[in-house]
């Protein structure tokens, strides 16, 4: 099943990636916030996801919080605050 991760807008451009699939959830990662920290720990451009940066998350296309649970098969997205309308 794995986990699909999407990036949008300025964050997509910064990390240079629109979409990736992890074959399984990393050990110890069970929430959207923990996944964000795990990605940030890649270093380099991925530190755009560090705490304090205005980044929003969605799990299965619903707005999520840091403590929102994630599981194998989920679609998780990270993006800056929205600016449509």
């Amino acid at each position: 099943m794995g986990i699909k991760i999407l990036y949008f807008a300025s964050l997509r451009e910064t990390v240079g990636c629109a979409e990736e699939v992890l074959e399984s959830l990393p050990a110890g990662v069970a929430t959207a916030g923990a996944l964000r920290e795990w990605l940030c720990a890649r270093g380099g451009d991925w530190t755009a996801l560090r705490a304090g940066q205005a980044i929003r998350a969605a799990v299965n296309q619903n707005l999520a919080h840091a403590h929102t649970a994630i599981a194998e098969g989920d679609e998780v997205a990270f993006f800056p605050p929205v600016t449509g309308g």
Partner: protein, 147 residues
């Protein structure tokens, strides 16, 4: 309820006529149109979105409005892709029996759309391209709806 995310422009007369025609009880139609402003020598604006989540979040916003007010019809159209100054970005139209519900629901939908629907704007100017920053006033506009 009807939500569209599309590259193309829309027919305002047809959309409004449809909202008014859903019931003989329609006495009020409130609409909102958002445009690309030609500020600061803006050359164009590109709208990116999150396909799938966009439609879902707009439908959810409309459902919330329908739960709060007695609405007869709601229409939301949001454009994506590259738009030029003066072009229309968004249309929200609400039909109701009386004007109070139509006005409130139309503004509520726009306030939620602005802060909850996954769209992002990138501006092109002579100085290059830049992503538009979210406005604090959009977040605070939600407070009047008690959430």
């Amino acid at each position: 309820m009807s939500v569209s995310v599309q590259h193309t422009d829309f027919d305002l007369d047809a959309e409004t006529a449809h909202l008014a025609s859903v019931s003989h009880n329609v006495g009020a139609v409130a609409t909102f149109l958002g445009y690309v402003r030609g500020d600061d020598a803006l050359a164009a604006m590109t709208l990116e979105h999150y396909p799938g989540m966009t439609e879902k979040s707009l439908a959810d916003i409309v459902s919330q409005a329908q739960a709060r007010w007695p609405l007869l019809a709601v229409r939301v159209i949001h454009r994506i892709g590259r738009l030029l100054p003066g072009e229309r970005i968004v249309f929200v139209g609400v039909a109701s029996r009386h004007r109070g519900a139509a006005f409130d629901a139309c503004e509520f939908i726009m306030d939620y759309l602005k802060t909850r629907a996954p769209f992002w704007k990138k501006e092109e100017t002579e100085q290059g391209a830049r992503w538009v920053d979210a406005r604090d006033s959009d977040e605070s506009a939600l407070e009047k709806w008690g959430k």
